[in-house]
Symmetry: C2
């Protein structure tokens, strides 16, 4: 016969959050709630009790929180995670005879039945609870049991039996011998706030020199910081800062022959001057780099480093660890390729090497080296071309001692692989945002990202452009298109980033028609940017980022909700804080050419707006205020002026005054 006691009658199923049967942790930010739901069932009609158990990983004791029945056997409870690192949670439930007895006693009393035997039953239950109690509680339970057991029925005795205080007291000493503990300890990983809400700016340090023709340095970057901070960015992401290989170095526009002056791609990492733990001598020294980080920190900017696990032919690893690479039968090293394309300036690591343990340890040491220098955010290049198991191990290892570290997954690949990487531990992930263009596409994709279980582990980071991605929309739409994409990225995503100054200067010339590569891409040459050009979007960006900072609705992804618009060139969505104290409605014209207008139909129920009263919407981009009423309201957007409204909704308006 079965091992478990057959009197264990409760089952717990359908627990949320629970990713892939508990295989992966959910993600939260310190200070956030973890709302746990589960189906809790038993045979029969008795009352159940259910508690949520949680603890910081490693803590010896579970903390217990009561769960409440919501509806249809669904229970809910919550706890708040306060510290970085990992928490565990599980559930326990049991059939509760005292609660059942109390509920039934009330029904019997209401029906005018003789409950004298029932009171004896109750006395017995209280007596049992007494057996599990101690101190004052024990005494009180004893005296109650004695009182209930006395012959005769009185109003006083019934009040005593049905007393809520007694119910609470008894439930403290429930008989849990046959309680069901959920079979899994589930995990939640807690990150710092920047993992949820971050505003990224990517810049090539070598293009930061003030004088034309010079190779930029970390010192030049320092001088660029105020400009970046003024636009409101809080993460400064630098492409690889390491020495660059010279063998098979790429020339301008990715040509296979470089002139002696060509600086090469920063992603062709390593030379005789060092590898992944060195800095490019022309950028400065490690000390310069640390100074840059310190200066950035003063402006509340995190410096994020690019981690690209690949080597130029000149990387020291190639000589020191030949077994970490794949060798061809002709005695040459296997370069990166996507047949028939060849990338001869780059050697991938061979993760199937016999020495994989050594390789993994070394790669981990690269992260630890930069953490030592002060880096706390890593943008990981192409993680989908390295084994899943490696990332799971690595992120876990790093975060054990450094739970504040944030990993951004730069995987532009098939959806399930992107999601898998997020499950494995990446704190944020690049998305398909750049290639979503229509109302329908945005609605579908962002509903998937923010309103399904995906949101438990995948934190989107939206990039309208990158050094690799100049979309057709930007190429053809010009400045209005850049404004549109900026507003979309900044308001659809709590985290977004731009590659600048390319972005704010609306650089949109492709290498050739049909290509997403830039003409004269900064990946292969040093650029000089005219930051003060009058058509720069820097002030617009600054305003949008200030709106993000000032409105907590934008600082998390989960409240996103789309609203109907009768013109498919327009899109409308809202975000709000949990208490709806801050509610924003965004309307964007997706057409960079023409003015578009239409009727927006707000879901007022969801926004808790009284449909019978006027309400004010204030455009935070222009400060214009409109008085709206009911669900349907008219909007009109000229992309040559401002292609979007970012409305702050003010719920009640009387005599022109906010009463919110």
């Amino acid at each position: 016969m079965r091992d478990e006691d057959g009197r264990t009658r409760v089952v717990i199923e359908g627990v949320r959050p629970e990713i892939d049967g508990g295989r992966f942790p959910a993600k939260r930010i310190a200070g956030e709630k973890v709302v746990v739901e589960a189906d809790v069932l038993a045979d029969g009609h008795e009352v159940l009790s259910c508690v949520l158990l949680y603890r910081k990983e490693g803590a010896p004791q579970w903390i217990e929180v009561p769960m409440e029945l919501v509806v249809n056997d669904r229970w809910r409870g919550e706890f708040t995670v306060t510290e970085l690192g990992a928490y565990r949670y599980t559930l326990q439930a049991w059939v509760d005879p005292f609660q059942s007895w109390r509920r039934d006693l009330q029904k019997r009393v209401d029906a005018g039945q003789d409950v004298s035997v029932e009171l004896q039953v109750g006395a017995g239950l209280v007596r049992e609870a007494r057996g599990r109690a101690s101190g004052d509680d024990k005494k009180r339970l004893q005296s109650t049991a004695t009182a209930l057991a006395r012959k005769g029925i009185s109003a006083r005795k019934l009040r005593l039996a049905l007393d809520e205080g007694l119910a609470k007291l008894v439930s403290r000493y429930s008989d849990r011998r046959f309680a069901t503990t959920y079979e899994r300890d589930l995990k939640v990983v807690v990150d710092r706030e920047r993992a949820r809400f971050s505003t990224w700016y990517e810049v090539f340090p070598r293009s930061c020199a003030l004088k034309p023709g010079r190779h930029g340095t970390f010192k030049d970057c320092e001088k660029r910081l105020p400009y970046i901070a003024a636009m409101g960015f809080d993460v400064l992401y630098l492409p690889p800062i390491h020495p660059i290989g010279h063998t098979h170095r790429k020339g301008k526009n990715n040509t296979t022959v470089a002139s002696p002056k060509d600086p090469g791609s920063p992603w062709a990492i390593g030379s005789e001057e060092g590898g992944h733990k060195a800095v490019h001598p022309l950028l400065g020294t490690l000390k310069d780099f640390r100074r840059l980080m310190d200066k950035a920190k003063e402006l509340n900017i995190d410096v994020a480093l690019d981690i690209s696990f690949q080597c130029s032919p000149d990387h020291p690893y190639v000589k020191e660890h030949p077994t970490w690479f794949r060798w061809r039968p002709d005695g040459t090293l296997q370069y990166a390729e996507n047949p028939p394309k060849k990338y001869e300036d780059i050697y991938p690591f061979d993760f199937e090497t016999e020495d994989w343990r050594e390789l993994w340890e070394e790669l981990k040491s690269i992260f630890l080296f930069w953490i030592e220098q002060g880096v706390r955010i890593f943008r990981v290049d192409n993680p989908h071309t390295k084994p899943f198991a490696f990332w799971e191990w690595l992120i876990d290892e790093v975060k054990r001692d450094h739970p504040e570290v944030i990993f951004l997954s730069e995987a532009f690949t098939r959806p399930k692989i992107m999601y898998r990487l997020a499950k494995l531990g990446f704190s944020q992930s690049y998305t398909y945002f750049a290639w979503r263009n229509t109302q329908r596409e945005f609605t579908q994709y962002f509903t998937e990202l923010t309103q399904t279980d995906v949101r438990e582990y995948f934190r989107p980071n939206l990039w309208p452009n990158t050094p690799d991605i100049l979309t057709e929309y930007l190429q053809s739409g010009g400045r209005p298109a850049f404004m549109t994409r900026l507003v979309l990225a900044a308001t659809l995503g709590a985290s977004y980033g731009i590659y600048g100054p390319s972005f704010e200067l609306c650089e949109n010339r492709p290498r050739e028609r049909g290509s997403e590569e830039y003409l004269n891409s900064e990946k292969y040459e040093i650029k000089q940017w005219e930051l003060d050009r009058p058509d720069s979007l820097k002030d617009f960006i600054a305003r949008v980022n200030r709106i993000r900072r000032e409105n907590p609705a934008f600082q998390s992804d989960w409240s996103l909700s789309f609203h109907q618009v009768d013109n498919e060139q327009l899109i409308c969505y809202s975000k709000g804080t949990e208490d709806l104290g801050n509610v924003i409605v965004v309307v964007v014209n997706l057409d960079p050419q023409y003015t578009q207008s239409g009727w927006v139909e707000l879901d007022l129920d969801k926004l808790k707006v009284d449909p019978q009263r006027p309400y004010e919407v204030q455009d935070l981009l222009t400060d214009a205020r409109y008085l709206w009423q009911g669900r349907r309201n008219y909007v009109e957007l000229n992309p040559r002026v401002v292609p979007a409204h970012i409305f702050r909704l003010r719920r009640q308006v009387r005599r022109g005054k906010d009463l919110e």
Copy 2:
């Protein structure tokens, strides 16, 4: 560092069927396919191979079936279950270097690249495969490796390298050292066909006597068999056939005082004459019962027994096993109740008894006793008031030796509990069908039952009436309502049943307004039914059941699909065999009072009908034929004549002749 080899690069997730992370088995019928899907992912861009592994439970060896990539990292494979009992299945997948090499070689050749080194790489891969092969295969691989390794490139050599036969041969000897085997062995339980397709008739044997006022016997039931068989039923379900208690016996219409003549409720099981393993002396002997089963079997009818785990106060268990019941402080036994209602003629078992093991074993022995007599179908009364763990254990124990046994769960309770019982092993389950009335309700509920994962474990059995359930629809709708509900039950569900002769005689008088109890319910008295009444639905039922037998589309639930109708009093749905050789379109008038008409809009894509050509629909209820064209067609149904069309669809019609 981690235990698993870091070179295990493939992950397998999102496997289907997989119920609650593999906690419960899926269900199939012998001869059916198990189509298994999974997301199979690895880092990088190499080609993967994936196989499905399955075996009969207990068989020493896995059988391997290749899986195919469908789209977006989703793989599919299938196997057929042929024997009753349990099967196991799992998956294995690996990065396949030879397939990757072959794909890339083709690309390189197409691009006109020099592939001489590539051929050496290929030779190496073939050589490795040779090391894992033996016999002729080993020889062939050796000679191919030698040929590929020879200097120089020729068209012959390229043909050899890219040869499909070689690819197949090499893949037989894939390197699976770093293959990923899915972490779970999943289970599928295989039942006989009647678990999927069955037509039930419930009858009280004691009401089967030919002469008025007499207590019917098993012999009388025998005489009733041809009548039941003529209507096309294949399961004859008998309420409990055991001795009935006399203490607190219920009188007519469930009154608490019985007259000496009242026979009592068959569910008040047990008296001095015996308990769950005895038959009521007035019904006959065990031998009579076995004879009834034999006679039924000749007509292809299974006799299904009611298993109600509860006892009358006079049941032998009460004296023999007092610890199996709950005792009250006043020394009396705890009767069944739903406060403030009391059911004093029934004692529930106390599953929280210390002697639960002994109780479980005894209850199991009741099933085994009746299996010994020849019973193979059990309709289990109120399983939701006995512990889940008990049912899981019991069904598993019984089916280990008797995989042909079918269990029907009579749980009318909350949805998650009904589903849980099905997951635990019940072969079929009662549903909410009786209380679904509108187009919208039917569509929603039956889409849930047949088009979601629920169908993997929950097999619906649809009952328009039972001795406990006389719905308001039947009470108020009269004979047309009975016809409507019969067609709905028989065509929405592969399994359905009626409680007769009450049903075919359209008995619809409630005990009182607002009650679902019958007036003068057969549960408390012996009835005499006038089977040959001219308004009996027996011929209509016979026709509907013949249509079910002749049209395999009706014999399974999975193909159900609803189609638009512009009148919400009508409902339209189709079912079809997998090859669409048999396609049925049903249209039912849900209004038992008035003629309703409307335009039906068929999803012709789904039915594989050419929208450009006329097609014939033949009403199997009336034999009328109609020529339809395109998606929208007109229907009109008078409930006083026939409230439904059951159309067989004939796809191509030319000059009035079927060319199907």
